[in-house]
Symmetry: C2
Subunit: 477 residues, 2 copies
């Protein structure tokens, strides 16, 4: 059965400007008898050593970091003011204190024993919830989760065909209650329940704004409903009912998620040298300005694959405006070492690679083999292999002068995940201040929504006219 | 039940330099009674109109295209020569003729009725197979497929726990037979079978090179085995046993996949204006040189999500060297309209967006609703919504001067998919010739493999030493 491994760490309180050589992974990795340690909760740490200009190009010098830290202090004041005043967007950073887990638990009570939960939502209305249930799957009650976040007809039909609807619950999420994809899918799902003779009004939870079609529908059918909090854009809503309903149905520890986030909130200070979240945001911003136009998010944990997608939305939709913004790329360790790593190491020096790596994890020994050339594997565990691969990849980039940052979690659990989500949101809000963009708008997304409505006859929208004028240059066989 | 929709098309043979205005999608989209047409097989077409400098910046002028076409002619001769001589890498483009589907069908016969197929492989040894079974899932026999392409211990354990091993078959793939992740996972899986009292030697297919540990093992236990073809790097091996064993076990039409690829092979000519694959490769190359350092692959079909991953490996590992290479980004329509689109439309002008869009697909009507503001949805189908979203996104980028290319498939079936995979491989090989890189090597991937082996005590590798020298700058709470 699985044994546990823990990566040796070198931690002596808050450390500024400490350059160190890590202990050999070769010896550290072979402590096969170690158990998962009952560590004090310390949450996310960040190591930006491999983004320094002494190591990497693009990179930032220590003097450059100190100059940016003055901007961080100003930005932090702005952020704190926005939070105190409950301003649009900044309000998201208040969620750990404001979200009421009891209210969510009460709302999901009627469907808590469902076998399958179908979340109908798109973008921020789905990704946060999916990130949480995927990351913590092992700690849940085994509820199957399906996310209908696309309108591909064949795919929607196939997902629905496989379900026992009498054991299925619906979690529909849209702030406006008007999102075309979400409402279309909800109508399809509702009809499937009707056709199967299952009363969907007994099995539906609604999360929406104060008014709009979904709110009317919840009122008319007396459905359990929760509010999308005011002033919180979808991509920042993971720590509200938007992200936590699915987690609660899966019986995950949503209280611990919020506590982890609240602990991370306490870490926000006026200096990047004291705040891991700001250190990450400021470093990413600084490296973009120095040429790292791409930010590859590469967790070394399969359960964080959806987190990388969530990060990509957060980063792209918040910072991608006014001709600015780093392009987020989703990668996965170790899988993408056999794919993207070639480009990251030997391609253009225009990337920051961000690793996320849990320090302790479940493990599994590699059985011995009778094949000589593979004997070295039989001395170890899958966890040690994973750690060696991570160390190799991190070193491979550093040795080639390609900048990278390491975000360390103690382990993957509810509290650590809450801290990670909050930390990345704070990092993104900080980066938005440093870029000087409006972090909380998404006009280009709205443009396409209007064009779609116009094309479908849902009103007059001038955006739809642009579709008529397509320039073609077709190459056919 | 599902009705069919087909996008109106405007096709009059091979078209060069034809600028046209498409018919209104508004009227085109509402032909709800149309059936899937029994179209003549025409395979992949490419529309590069929105990558012209008259539309987009970066963009390429028509004169620029003509100049590049002279290089395409030279590159095509080089490619044809490499194919004729069976040179390393170029040999991949001969696979449609050389792969023997009967041999694959015979090898999988002993496990053809398994409930679950576990493919143990990583990178090119997994992604091609996953791309095919995911794209064609609806046409298969319902075999569940699991791809163990990571060594995350918790994830591996959870994937294995859910399986009935007596109904499970193993498909292990590694050219060298030495790949650490693959062999470690294979040893773990083999032990799980032993523990469950199931004879793994009765349920294992091996695909590997002519020598090495896996080949020895196949010989010793008399396992059905297939060869990784000589001269074909993993990422180009989808159209060999490497990619087709899983498809054959799922009872997919591997003959049609190869036929579609063979048809695409016939389209390779010395001019980008006559060859869709080369038109794509040359346009991507030209735009990279003009500033589109990112290539976002965005299929409008959920079943092609894995294809986007496969493309990302192909593009990154083939072209990412000598400080060159576009960064591939995986996106998904319509889902990522609510996420990445903000960046693609309003962020830096450093991206080419590549759409893949099937012209005909299964459809599903959107039920009528009693909510007035949503009534417009009830007139349509999910397929029409998908098409309107695609048109809106394409237009939204063009209207903002952001370059994009459309790759059209008739539909998603075995032959079209074979053509698409072959076409993208040919596009990538062409781009490699234009860049002047060695498309078929991956030294940076090998670097990390050596470092990992060294760290695990699998031999002396100087790459492992780089891990010792990590520069730290830790920010902690």
């Amino acid at each position: 059965m699985p044994v546990a491994s823990s990566r040796k760490r070198n931690r002596e309180g808050t450390s500024i400007f400490r350059a160190a050589t890590t202990a050999s992974r070769r010896s550290a990795g072979h402590d096969k008898t170690a158990l998962v340690r009952a560590l004090a909760h310390t949450s996310m740490n960040v190591d930006i050593g491999n983004a320094l200009s002494s190591v990497a190009s693009p990179g930032i010098s220590r003097a450059g970091l100190e100059r940016i830290d003055e901007q961080v202090a100003v930005a932090h004041e702005r952020i704190e003011r926005g939070m105190a005043d409950g301003e649009h967007g900044y309000e998201a950073l208040n969620l750990p204190e404001k979200t009421d887990p009891d209210e969510i638990r009460t709302a999901v009570e009627p469907v808590a024993d469902c076998e399958t939960l179908v979340t109908v939502g798109i973008g921020g209305s789905a990704l946060g919830a999916a990130t949480i249930v995927d990351a913590l799957e092992a700690q849940g009650d085994g509820t199957e989760t399906v996310f209908l976040d696309n309108v591909d007809p064949a795919w929607v039909s196939r997902r629905l065909e496989g379900l026992t609807l009498s054991e299925t619950a619906i979690n529909v999420v849209s702030r406006s209650g008007m999102t075309a994809e979400t409402l279309a899918n909800f109508l399809v799902v509702r009809e499937a329940f009707d056709s199967a003779g299952v009363d969907w009004t007994e099995r539906t939870i609604v999360t929406t704004g104060e008014s709009g079609p979904l709110r009317e529908l919840a009122d008319r059918h007396d459905l359990p409903s929760l509010a999308v909090p005011d002033g919180v854009p979808g991509r920042y809503a993971a720590l509200s009912a938007v992200g936590l309903v699915a987690a609660a149905v899966c019986d995950l520890d949503i209280e611990a998620i919020l506590e982890g986030a609240a602990a991370e909130r306490k870490s926000l200070t006026g200096s990047l040298f004291e705040c891991p979240a700001y250190a990450y945001g400021a470093t990413a911003y600084a490296l973009d300005g120095r040429g790292a136009a791409v930010n590859a998010m590469m967790p070394y944990a399969e359960s964080l694959e959806t987190f990388a997608e969530w990060f990509a939305q957060l980063w792209a939709e918040s910072l991608g405006k006014d001709d600015l913004g780093q392009t987020p790329v989703r990668a996965l360790g170790v899988t993408d070492q056999h794919s993207q790593l070639q480009l990251y190491r030997a391609g253009p020096s225009d990337k920051l690679v961000t690793f996320v790596t849990p320090q302790a994890h479940e493990d599994r020994p590699i059985p011995d083999t009778d094949v000589d050339s593979l004997a070295y594997l039989g001395d170890g565990t899958l966890g040690e292999l994973l750690e060696a691969e991570f160390s190799a990849t991190e070193a491979s980039l550093a040795a080639a002068g390609q900048p990278n940052v390491r975000i360390e979690l103690e382990r993957i659990d509810a509290a650590e995940l809450g801290g990670l989500l909050y930390g990345m949101e704070a990092a993104c809000v900080l980066a938005g201040e440093l870029y000087g963009v409006n972090t909380f708008e998404q006009p280009a997304v709205e443009w396409a929504k209007n064009a779609t409505r116009g094309l479908l006859g849902g009103g007059e929208f001038e955006e739809a006219d642009a579709v008529e004028a397509k320039t073609e240059l077709r190459i056919e066989r």
